[in-house]
């Protein structure tokens, strides 16, 4: 897996709280056996109801960094949600906080999901609204988000940061290395061993 240290490009602001995964990708698009084609349906229902939705605005079409609010990605465990964002073009998410399952799913896909303070997010969001072409970067080695010439502190769980920056986010590969340990643990779990004491 490649090392993911910095995502650079431009940003798309969606500074709302409690954006749930049903909104990110409505359930009807989960009727599929692959993740192909989900990108075009990201936020579909919100977009239909809000003609000014950032995901429909020309100036944000090539953005790599999504800026949002508190508790982003709450609700359903559907990995289709970060898959839809990724396939739309998002490579990093900056928000005030994340729901746990969503955060884990992002890390599985190599998408850094970093948190910033609400005031900083408000300012970033305003800067990007004012100048959609402003250069934005998310650096998880230095833990800085840069918007134009302004720098902000960000945070990400150390476990995710470590995995992404070292390129060790093929968790399946890592788990597979521990076959013997897995069997040894299974050997001491009562319900796998007829509850023998």
């Amino acid at each position: 897996m490649n090392e993911i240290k910095q995502i650079s490009g431009t940003a798309i602001p969606l500074f709302l709280d409690d954006i749930d995964t049903d909104r990110i990708i409505p359930a009807r698009y989960l009727r599929c056996v692959t993740f192909d084609g989900l990108g075009e349906h990201a936020f579909e229902d919100d977009r239909k109801q809000d003609p000014s939705h950032p995901f429909d605005q020309e100036q944000f079409q090539d953005s790599q960094v999504l800026i949002s609010g508190r508790n982003f990605g709450c609700g359903s465990s559907r990995e289709h949600a970060p898959q839809a964002l990724m396939r739309w073009g998002i490579q990093a998410v900056v928000a005030e906080s994340f729901a746990e399952i969503f955060f884990g799913n992002c890390t599985s896909l190599g998408i850094p999901a970093v948190t910033c303070t609400r005031d900083d997010l408000k300012e970033m969001s305003a800067s990007v609204q004012a100048d959609p072409k402003v250069a934005v970067s998310v650096d998880i080695e230095t833990l800085k988000v840069t918007v134009g010439d302004k720098q902000y502190d960000c945070q990400i769980a150390e476990s995710a940061r470590n995995s992404l920056t070292s390129g060790r986010w093929d968790f399946l590969g890592l788990l597979l290395e521990k076959q013997d340990d897995i069997k040894q643990t299974a050997g001491k779990i009562p319900y796998l061993n007829n509850f023998a004491s």
Partner: protein, 473 residues
């Protein structure tokens, strides 16, 4: 020295395989439940790497999200849904996983089936590619929802990496008033702690209210832990847990059951157990609770008014205004009396036999209001069968409810059961997100099954307590 670990940490430690230098635990998973929506891509990952399922006998599959609840004959009318059925059938066959398919009477919503079959047991680690896996915590297990990449990892290695959460004890003491149900308790807790209050925590529900609850009521509470941000919620196993499991198909048998029961009970947290946080609520403060907004914390007691944005912290006001606008509800008016178009009884939260009994008790001898479409969707085929043996289907049908086949149905509307346009639905499900019930502009009011039934009968949100007392008393 006595063991001061709570149940969560005892179970976690027992299942720890290894620790990554980054602090994450590789956790052995005792039971992996899969369904048709979040598993096909995971099996593809295994195919891509030429990997088998490591413990097929610790893995069980069913179909629930996309199944129609009217005619279930194959092929399904929805070709996309039919494609998903074929995929899980092929995958389970090829990888040696037991599938409780649509033609198996054990089929149903994965979180109803697990407990019903005795698959869910205390002290287990349980995962499923579904956020409501927290339901299984009702037995004193660590049960968490996972994404599809994790599903592939667990299929291939029976393990996954997790950060150990903190444990918060959520205590509710006292006695619930008549007409206040498990659903009201969990809606109240989420309202008070917030939709993200539980992020980073597992919730241990403790106190007199949970001690008194039946296993099915405990499942309702644990089910919605994730709606409060807690990926996992649990209740310590007690004699009720043991009694529930006795005789279930996948539960241990004979002498082994006795040994199992002894071990299960030994896992419970004790008065010496340590917690990272403790919060307390009084049962007497809990009313029948109804959501008015677009997340499950946006709720009020039935006697309260719909709030206005000014009543909230400044950072929340934009979200509250957005919710009120979407719901088209007016601040300062009572939630009671709000008109509904649809009533839905079912889901992994409230689709079990006791839920249907409570609803039938209210429906009996009454009739659904004109212009209300009301449906009852049992959580599993066995729940459906039991209900029919008790004559509940007749009670519902005579009252004007549609009696359906088992599945997730209108909780998330991946099957043909959907709201239309701006319809507003009194629902016993778990999420009131925008568009959740199938219409992008459809609206959901979450409440207990008894409250849904009351709303169906009156055509508007109703205090079910007014219907519980015999006439003339």
């Amino acid at each position: 020295m006595s063991d001061t670990r709570n149940l969560f940490n005892k179970v976690w430690d027992l299942h720890t395989v290894s620790e990554l230098p980054n602090g994450q635990t590789q956790l052995f998973i005792g039971l992996h439940m899969i369904h048709e929506v979040t598993s096909p891509q995971a099996f593809e990952i295994l195919r891509g790497r030429n990997l088998p399922v490591m413990y097929p006998d610790r893995t069980i599959a069913t179909v629930d999200h996309i199944v129609p609840t009217t005619s279930q004959s194959r092929p399904f009318v929805d070709t996309l849904a039919e494609g998903m059925m074929s995929a899980i059938e092929k995958n389970c066959d090829e990888f040696g996983v037991t599938l409780l398919d649509i033609d198996d009477e054990r089929q149903g919503i994965v979180h109803v089936v697990g407990p019903e079959q005795g698959l869910t047991q205390p002290g287990m680690t349980i995962v499923c590619g579904d956020s409501h896996t927290s339901t299984h915590g009702a037995f004193g297990s660590i049960a968490i929802g996972i994404g599809t990449s994790n599903v592939a990892q667990v299929l291939a290695t029976q393990t996954m990496y997790l950060n150990r959460p903190k444990v918060r004890r959520v205590v509710v003491n006292g006695e619930l008033k008549p007409g206040v149900f498990a659903k009201d308790v969990i809606l109240h807790i989420i309202r008070k702690l917030g939709v993200q209050g539980g992020v980073g925590y597992a919730y241990e529900y403790a106190g007199e209210v949970f001690d008194r609850m039946t296993m099915e009521e405990r499942m309702t509470v644990c089910n919605m832990s994730i709606e409060g941000g807690a990926r996992c919620g649990y209740i310590n196993p007690d004699q009720k847990t043991v009694d529930y499991l006795q005789g279930r198909p996948f539960a241990p048998k004979a002498d082994e059951f006795d040994k199992a029961a002894e071990w299960w009970l030994s896992l419970a947290s004790t008065p010496d157990s340590k917690f990272d946080d403790v919060v307390e609520f009084a049962a007497a403060d809990i009313e029948p609770t109804v959501t008015w907004g677009i997340n499950p914390a946006q709720s009020v007691g039935i006697s309260e008014n719909i709030p206005s944005p000014e009543q909230f912290d400044e950072t929340e006001q934009v979200g509250i205004a957005e919710a009120l606008a979407f719901m088209d509800l007016t601040s300062g008016t009572g939630i009671k009396g709000q008109k509904i178009d649809v009533a839905f009884i079912g889901s992994c939260t409230n689709g079990r036999i006791s839920d249907l009994r409570q609803a039938a008790e209210i429906a009996k001898g009454r009739h659904v209001a004109d212009n209300v479409k009301a449906i009852v969707v049992p959580g599993s085929q066995l729940v459906r069968k039991q209900a029919m043996e008790e004559g509940l289907d007749k009670i519902f049908e005579e009252a004007g409810f549609e009696w359906r086949e088992a599945g997730c149905s209108m909780c998330l509307a991946m099957n043909p059961d959907k709201l239309q346009g701006r319809e507003i639905c009194a629902s016993s499900s778990n999420r009131n997100f925008k568009g959740r019930q199938g219409s992008p502009t459809g609206r959901t009011l979450l409440m207990s099954p008894a409250m849904v039934t009351a709303a169906a009968i009156h055509g508007c949100v109703t205090d079910v307590r007014e219907m519980l007392e015999p006439a003339g008393v």
